[in-house]
Symmetry: D2
Subunit: 355 residues, 4 copies
C-alpha cells in the first residue's frame, strides 16, 4: 500500500534532523518534500545539511532537493506538513500552508496559545483536536494548524496528568535542568557552559507556567477551559546534550493513602496512542524507576525510544504541607519534547481519519 | 607579634587543602600541625599530598610532617584545631580533642545537631557561640566543639536570613545543582557525570531541611529553639567543579511592597564579621546581581573570595500565592560552604576573646 | 540447535558489562556462568551489578548467580571463557582455567607478550592462533589462553595493517586522546578531568609501542617474529566517554603515488571475519571518511557497531620527509578495543573448529 | 609620571577582553581608547560588552566609549595600538593606522608572514624588531605593524628555542589539543564538543608548520632567513576552556648526553623580557615539571600568570631514532598565545625606546 506523503519544513536544523531520523522507515509516512532557508534552496539535502546526530544521514533523504518553505513549492498530495521552523518564520508561513489546505503539525512556538489552535499531547488531550473545526470555520482554512507544546512543558505535563486524574493538582513548583540541544545546535557556546550552569532560558518559564494549563484543560465548545492549576517554574541550562530533567514539587488536592498510589497512577496511565498502538507510541508514556539516583539524562533519555518520560524519587514533601509530594522527571527534549510528539499527533490523526 | 597557632585535621583531602590554602599568609593564624590518615603519618605534607588546586602547594606547609589525628600528637599551645575529617573519624576523635582542652572548629557532619553544639554562620547566629558553655558543663570538657554547617545549607541560609528578618519566612522549596567538589576529590567518577546529572545526593536533603532551622533559630537558655520554617529540598549533582547553585521558592509571612525591598534587605545584610572586619569576611555576605542570566558557577563562585553568596533572578512567584517569591543563589561550596566559614568562626572567636 | 556455552570472568566491571551486552542474543554463544570478586559471589547478577550502560541490564543475565573466578566453579561444558579480569587476578587464575581444559579468550594484560600466547586481531593475524599448540605442548595444558591486545594498540594496528601490506611501514609516531572508559568506571575522578587533559596513562605507551609489533609480526615455528617497525607513542586522557582518537604520523617504506592509494588500501582491507561473515564482524574493519573534521568520538565511535575503526584526514606530511603521511584514527575502546574483539576471536575459533 | 597612552582595537571580543584585563593597573600603559564593530560604536564599554572572564569588567574601562576601528577616531597621542581585530578587518585597517603614524602591535593573523613585518616572541627573536625600519622604508609609513604569532605556534616555539640553541633541531612532529577559547567565544558550539574531540582546526596546521620557522629564523639584512627545521602538525580541538596542550616529538641534530641537559637548557633559557624585568615577563619563560602526569591545562595554564609555558614528560623517543626526544608543552592560549605576548612586545619597545 502506498505510504502517506509528508513534508518537513525547516528540515536541516537540529529538530528538523530529528524529524528526518524518526521518519526513516516509518511504516505509514514517507517524506517527499523538505524545506530550508533561502541559502540552501536548490541543494540536495545530503549536501546542504551539517548532520549532527549519530548514525549519519538516512539514505532516503540524501538526494531530496531542498525547497522554499512555501505552500506553492510543496506537492499538493502531501497529507501532513511537519514544521520545525523558527518561531518567526512559522508565524508567517504556517497560515499560508493551512490556507492552501495542508494539515500543518508544528513544533514551532507561534500560535500555540491561540484559542482555536489545538495544543496536543495525544495521551492527554487528544479530544482537543476538535478545535480544528473551530479554526477552519473562523479562519476560512481548508487545512489546519495543530501544535506540539514546548519541550519542557510536554515532559512535565505527562508526569502531572495521572496526578490530576487521581488526586487533583493545586500547585506545582518546578526547577528544570535543560539539555543544550534545547537551544538548537549553535544555541549555547561551549565557552558558556563547560564547568557551568546558566540559570536562565529566555521566555521558557512563561511557557512552562502556561502551556500546560491549556493541555490539561477541558474542551468546552469553541475553546479550552484552562486547568485550574498554579505553576511556578525556574528554568536552567546545564551541560548535558539531550534530556531535560525537572525537579517537581506538587500540592495535590487529595492526599494519596501512600506513595504507591502515585506510582500506580503513573504506571497505569495511558492514552489513545497506546490503545491504538501507534508506531511511535511508547508502551507506557510514564515509566517509574525506584533506584534513588535515577532518572539520569544520559542513562534514561532514550526510554521508550525517547517517547516515554521517566519519573523517579517520588516522595512526600510533608515538611511543607500534608498534600505535597516531590519527584524528578526526565524526558528526551527532541523526541517526546519535539519531533516525536509531533509525529505522534499525525499518527493519531491518520489512524482516526481526522481530515 | 606572634601568630596564634592552629592545627588542621585531615589536611590532605579536598577540604583540608582548602584550609591550607586559606590559611596561607593568614594575618592572625599560623598552621603548626597537620594530620592525615595512618598511611601518610610521618611523611612530609608536600610529599604525601596529591595537591588538587591551582597554584600549587603553599610553601609553608611543604615540610610539615603529617601526624595522627590524635590530641596527644598536637602541640598543647595550639589554639584552634580545624577539622576536615570524614564524619566517622570526626565522631570519634573530635571529643578527644575537646576533652584535652582544644577548641575544635569543625566542618565534619558529626555532632552538628547536638543541642549543646553551636552550629554557626557568623553573620547569622554568632550569639549561639554561648552554647559552648553548656557543652563544657555537660560534657566536662575544657575545650569545645563548634560546627560549620553543610555547604548547601550555609549558602541557602545566608540568602534566607535577610528575608527572615524583614518579612518572615514560612516555607522554602529548594532544588540544588551541586558541584562535584562537594563529594570530595574521588567522590564522583567522570564516567558518572559527563553529559549527565545525578538527581540524588545521599543524606543531603535532610541536612538542608534541618540544619538551617537550627542556624536560624533563637538561643534560649541551654539550647536553640529551631526556627519555625518549613523547608523541602531536592538535591542534585551536576558537572561543575566548584559552586553550588540553588533554585529557591520562598513563601514570606509578609508581602514586600516591591522586589526592591528584597534586594535592599539582602544588600544591606551584614553581621559580626563585617563589623569587625575579620580577615576572611567579605565586604558583603550577600551580593545581588541583576543580569537575568546570573549567578553562574564559573563566573561568580569566587565573589568575595568565595565568602559571599550571589543572588540573582529575584522575582515574584505570584502564580502560586501572593507571598511567594523565587530566586537563585550561588556560593562556593569549599569556601563559604566549608573551610572559609570554619576559619571565619575562629576569627570571630579570636577577635572577641571567646575562650 | 543448542548454543555454545560460554562464561564471563569479571562480569560486573565496565568491560565485563560490555561482554554481557554484546553476548545478548548472540546467535552462537550463550552465557551460562558469570564471575565476580569475592564480595559479590552468591548474589544475582542483576542485584550485584551497578549497570553503567544505556539500555539497562539484558534480561538473560539478571538472575545468573555470580561465582568465584575459579575453574572449579564453572561448568565443564563451557566452551569459551571470556576474561575481563584485572591483570593481577588474570595472572593467577587464567592458567588454572587453561590447565583445566578451558579455552580462555582474554582481554586482560597478563601473558600478552609471552612467546607461546597468541595475541590476535582476527583481521590481521588470525594465523597466530597456531601458537596454542606450542602453548599446550610447553605448559601441558589441555585448554589454552588467547589474548586480545590493549585497546589503543588494536585501533592503531588495524589502521596500520593495510599500509604495512601495500607500502611497508618504517616508523610510526602516535599521540592518543583516550576516553575515560578506558580507565574503568572509577578510574578517572570527575574532578581530575573536567576542563582538563591528563597527558599520561601509566604503562600505556610501552604497550602501544610493543604489542603491535607482535600482532603485525610473522609466525615462525614456535614463536612470532616481531615486525620491524619503530613506534613512539604519547598517550593522554581526555574528557570523552568512549572512543580513543589517535593522531598518527607514518613513515612508509615505499611512497604511494597518491593519497588515494592509501584510501583504497584501507577501504579494501579485510580479513577472516569478513570472509566468514562472523556475527560481530563489521562489513569493513577500516572505514575512511573524507570530511575534514572527522572522525569524532561521539559521532563515529559506533561505526560498524563499534567494531570498525574510522580513519580521516589522510594527508602527506612531506614537510618531514617524502615518505611520511599522517592521519587520525578512531575506534571504540570497549568494543573493538576490548570485549568485541575478544568475542570475535572466539567466533573465528568456533567457526573454524579450532579446538 | 604620566603613563603611556594605548588603544585596544576589537576590545569586546575574547582576546580584546584579555587585553583589557592584562592592562588593568599596568605600571606603564594606560588604555585611553577602545574600538568595536559598528553596532557597538558610541556605547560605553561596560554596556556593550558581554564580559566573559571571571572577576568582572575592570572599573577603568567601564565608561570608555567605543569607537570605530579607524585611525581618525583614535587620539594622536596614543603610543601603542593593540589589535585584537578579526583577520579580515585587520587586513584593511592596520595599514591605515601604521600609515597615520601609530605603532600597531597586533594579534591578528594578517601580514604575519610578510617579509618586512616582524613576528616576535620577545624571548626568542627580539632583534627582528629591526624589520620595522625596512617596513617603513618600503611602505612609506611613519608608524609600524609588529605581529604576535598564532597561539599554538608561540607555545611550541618557546619550548623549541632552547633545543635549537643547545642541540639543533632537525624535525618536529606535533599533535595539539587546543582549548575552546582559541576559537573565540562563539567559535565552538557546546553541542559540538561535549563528550567529543574535533580533530581539525581550519588553517591552523599551516600556521604551526610555518610561523615558527620565521620566529626561529635569522635576521639577514632586509628579511628573515627561515630556520631550517621541518615541522608537521596535527591540530585538534578538545573540551578545555583555556590552555593549549601539545604533544611533541623532536629530532635533534646533536644527541644530548642525558635528558638532564634538555631540562637544564629549558630551565636556563631566558631573554630580553627577563633581563629587563618587563612587567608581564614571567620569571622563567619555560618551566619544566617532573610529575609524570603534568602539565595539565586546568592546573598549569596560569603558570607565570599565563606567560610561562610548562614542559613535562621529557623522555627519549629512541624507538624511532637515536636523536629523537619527546615531551608535552602547555601554554595559556589567550595570554602567552595572544594578548600577553602582544603587550610584552610593546613593553620591550617602550623600555628600549624603539620608536
Amino acid at each position: 500500500m502506498d505510504k502517506v506523503k509528508v513534508a518537513v519544513l525547516g528540515a536541516t536544523g537540529l529538530v528538523g534532523q530529528k524529524f528526518i531520523q524518526l521518519l526513516n522507515n516509518h511504516p505509514w509516512f514517507e517524506v517527499v518534500a523538505v524545506t530550508a532557508s533561502e541559502r540552501n534552496v536548490g541543494k540536495k539535502y545530503g549536501e546542504a545539511v551539517s548532520w549532527y546526530h549519530e548514525g549519519g544521514i538516512p539514505e532516503y533523504v540524501r538526494d531530496l532537493v531542498l525547497r522554499r518553505s512555501n505552500p506553492e513549492e510543496v506537492p499538493g498530495d502531501v497529507e501532513y506538513v511537519f514544521s520545525a521552523l523558527p518561531r518567526s518564520v512559522a508565524q508567517e508561513v504556517e497560515p499560508l500552508f493551512a490556507k492552501k489546505g495542508f494539515k500543518v503539525i508544528s513544533n514551532a512556538g507561534a500560535f500555540r496559545m491561540d484559542s482555536d489552535v489545538p495544543l496536543i499531547i495525544p495521551e492527554i488531550n487528544w479530544d482537543h483536536i476538535e478545535l480544528i473545526n473551530v479554526q477552519r470555520r473562523r479562519r476560512g482554512w481548508s487545512g489546519a494548524i495543530v501544535k506540539n507544546s514546548n519541550c519542557t512543558t510536554a515532559i512535565l505535563v505527562l508526569s502531572l496528568k495521572p496526578l490530576v486524574d487521581y488526586f487533583g493538582v493545586r500547585r506545582v513548583i518546578v526547577t528544570t535542568m535543560q539539555a543544550l540541544s534545547g537551544a538548537g545546535y549553535r544555541g549555547v557556546p561551549s565557552m558558556a557552559i563547560i564547568d557551568n550552569i546558566i540559570p536562565y532560558i529566555e521566555g521558557e518559564e512563561w511557557k512552562v507556567e502556561n502551556e500546560g494549563l491549556k493541555i490539561l484543560g477541558k474542551l468546552s465548545g469553541d475553546h479550552v477551559e484552562y486547568a485550574d492549576i498554579k505553576i511556578s517554574a525556574t528554568t536552567t541550562r546545564v551541560p548535558t546534550l539531550y534530556g531535560h530533567l525537572e525537579s517537581v514539587h506538587v500540592e495535590l488536592k487529595n492526599k494519596p493513602k501512600s506513595l504507591d498510589e502515585i506510582v500506580d497512577a503513573m504506571r497505569e496511565f495511558e492514552g489513545i496512542p497506546q490503545k491504538l498502538k501507534l508506531p511511535l507510541a511508547p508502551e507506557k508514556p510514564v515509566l517509574v524507576v525506584s533506584d534513588p539516583d535515577r532518572p539520569q539524562p544520559r542513562l534514561d533519555r532514550n526510554a521508550g525510544k525517547g517517547m516515554a518520560v521517566v519519573v523517579g524519587r517520588i516522595s512526600w514533601a510533608s515538611n511543607i504541607g500534608d498534600n505535597w509530594v516531590k519527584y524528578v522527571v526526565l524526558g528526551h527534549n527532541l523526541v517526546r519534547g519535539a519531533a516525536g510528539n509531533t509525529i505522534l499527533i499525525a499518527e493519531a490523526m491518520h489512524r482516526l481519519g481526522v481530515d
